[in-house]
Amino acid sequence: MPDRVPIDAARLRAAVADERYWNAGHPERGAWQRWFADGYQALYSNDRASGGGGVVHVRAYVRDGHAVAAHMRGAPHRESRDVGSTSDAEDRPRADAPRSGSSLRDLTTSRRSLLNGGPVVPVMAPRRRDGVIGRRPDTILEGGAGGGGAHRPSAGQSQSQVPSPPVISRRSQELVDMIAPGGRPIGGQQGGARSSIRTLPGGEPAAEAMLQRLINGRGAVDITPPRYSGRMYRLDDGTVIGFRPSSASGSPAVDINIPGYTTVRKLHF
């Protein structure tokens, strides 16, 4: 099962047609709408920034005994609200509504900032088996790199129903393809060790070559800490790469931190 669901206009339309979006009594409605809005934001934010806007088609439905005709509408406004809220105002865009400092719109902005403005692939986490959509914002990102304060909701907001921001950029995916082409991590796994730690032959020359391959053409900024004998770089997608000529065992190691990617964490040579 893929760990991400790509978002496109067709999927967003399907999401709007889903009962969880329009049924005011559905227990997952609030979370579903926020999930939708986050996907919308990821998909159409560039259009909105350029004034193009973005719309979705809403099928006809019945609310409180009244027929609502099919219509086109803009992206739902993201605001802090209680989980399970069934207010009719929920899915009406409110340009004047105050926003929580930790709304998902802000999370997306925050993520883009971390990526130094790099492109964000509009992908969303799938529904969890327990039925909760998204991830707990104050805690550990499921399937992601984890994180603390950046994903904390405002006071009073439930922490269990906030959707996930896009988790990996197209730019980062290029790096992923280098260390796990076709989804298969390079190198081998030391028997009994964590699979995210890969072992490759070649010693320091191979480690240096891999480092160059990972950083070249990626706006690498040298962020090597003072007095450190190795090197460290931040790439234009927010990835951090550390090169240690000698790890605890004496062999060179390359530490890799690609935003949103956890399958390969370290290469030993």
Binding site: L114, P225, R244, A248
Partner: protein, 118 residues
Amino acid sequence: MFPLDEVISQLAVSAQTDDVSFPIVLDAWRDVAEPLPGADDTERMLNFVSLLLDHGFVAVTSPYADPPSAPWPEQARGKAAILQRVRREWEALDHEVTFLDLCWFHRPGDGEAKAVTD
């Protein structure tokens, strides 16, 4: 998903070659099949770190820090002090955790590994 014992064993084997970073520990925690005690994910994560300390792992600075790979001062003050610092630094994070954040975990050889206690 793996049983808790197997996950801890994976980390112990990994630590024979090199200290393990906090993101690797987080990944390991997510791989634990059985539920760990705790009211929320942060507490469950801290419980997992607590188990690592019970198994002889030592909280050390990152190899990129100055000084590199040095035991946290809290190591001498007991497990509660370590967990308190982990919680504090975790909650102060404003970005996804990286190998530069919080601590790494060193595990001395089996002959030397000693669980830290309160």
